[in-house]
Amino acid sequence: VGTVEIGEPERTYTVEPLEDPVPRERPAEPAERPAGPSPAEEPIEPERVRAP
């Protein structure tokens, strides 16, 4: 089979859609975390040491 018969060319133009015609994959949403600092961010209590 050959290419579809669409006839002779008449004009050439540029098309730049405002919206993307491709439904692209959305990046995965990050999992929700509970409010508050993560363990790595929690303040560390200073260690009590005996004075010399």
């Binding site: 089979v1 050959g2 290419t3 579809v4 018969e5 669409i6 006839g7 002779e8 060319p9 008449e10 004009r11 050439t12 133009y13 540029t14 098309v15 730049e16 859609p17 405002l18 015609p21 491709v22 439904p23 692209r24 994959e25």
Partner: protein
């Protein structure tokens, strides 16, 4: 500074695609050339005439589509033109499980012709899966299974009820869908 575009909406035309099994899923491929249409990625045209020419007859490459060449991604203005590709043999009959028809968005550089367009960028807009059995030479899969798998493309997919898989019957079925709105 780039020139302003002539249009800000894609051109919408009609195409027929082969459906080919790939791994666990199904993919669209072009009927005439060995070209895969990947879900959620536009197809970008390149001129294949140079690749298929004899070495001593090759001309310099050019941006596709060129007005003076036949290159580019084709879309027909009327579904009848595209539907003629629902029958007839293709390079990939051994791989195909079905043929589907639908609308396609074209954008980028577009050559408008008397009965259709050739574009530089394309993506399916809506896919119609004939619910009738595929032509006898294809390894037919259930149309419902094909339709479900093609939803990977992220565009509307519809089963097209028709009395047979002939182009005339399917175009009549498309008319009925359009009349329903």
């Amino acid at each position: 500074v780039s020139a302003a575009p002539d249009y800000i909406e894609p051109i919408v035309g009609w195409r027929t695609w082969l459906v080919v099994r790939e791994g666990e899923g199904f993919r669209l491929r072009s009927v005439v050339y060995d070209t895969a249409w990947f879900p959620r990625h536009e197809l970008i045209a390149r001129c294949l005439h140079r690749a298929f020419s004899l070495p001593w007859r090759r001309r310099a490459g050019h941006v596709a589509p060129a007005r003076a060449c036949g290159c580019g991604i084709y879309a027909a203005r009327e579904p009848e033109e595209a539907a003629s590709y629902l029958e007839g043999r293709s390079w990939a009959d051994a791989l195909s499980v079905h043929r589907v028809i639908g609308t396609v968005s074209l954008w980028g550089r577009v050559v408008e012709c008397a009965r259709g367009w050739r574009g530089s960028h394309a993506y399916p807009k809506r896919i119609y899966v004939p619910a009738t059995r595929a032509p006898y030479w294809l390894r037919a899969e259930r149309a419902e299974e094909v339709a479900l798998a093609l939803t990977d493309y992220g565009v509307p997919v519809e089963l097209l009820e028709a009395d047979s898989c002939g182009p005339d019957e399917l175009v009549a079925a498309l008319d009925a869908v359009a009349a329903r709105g």
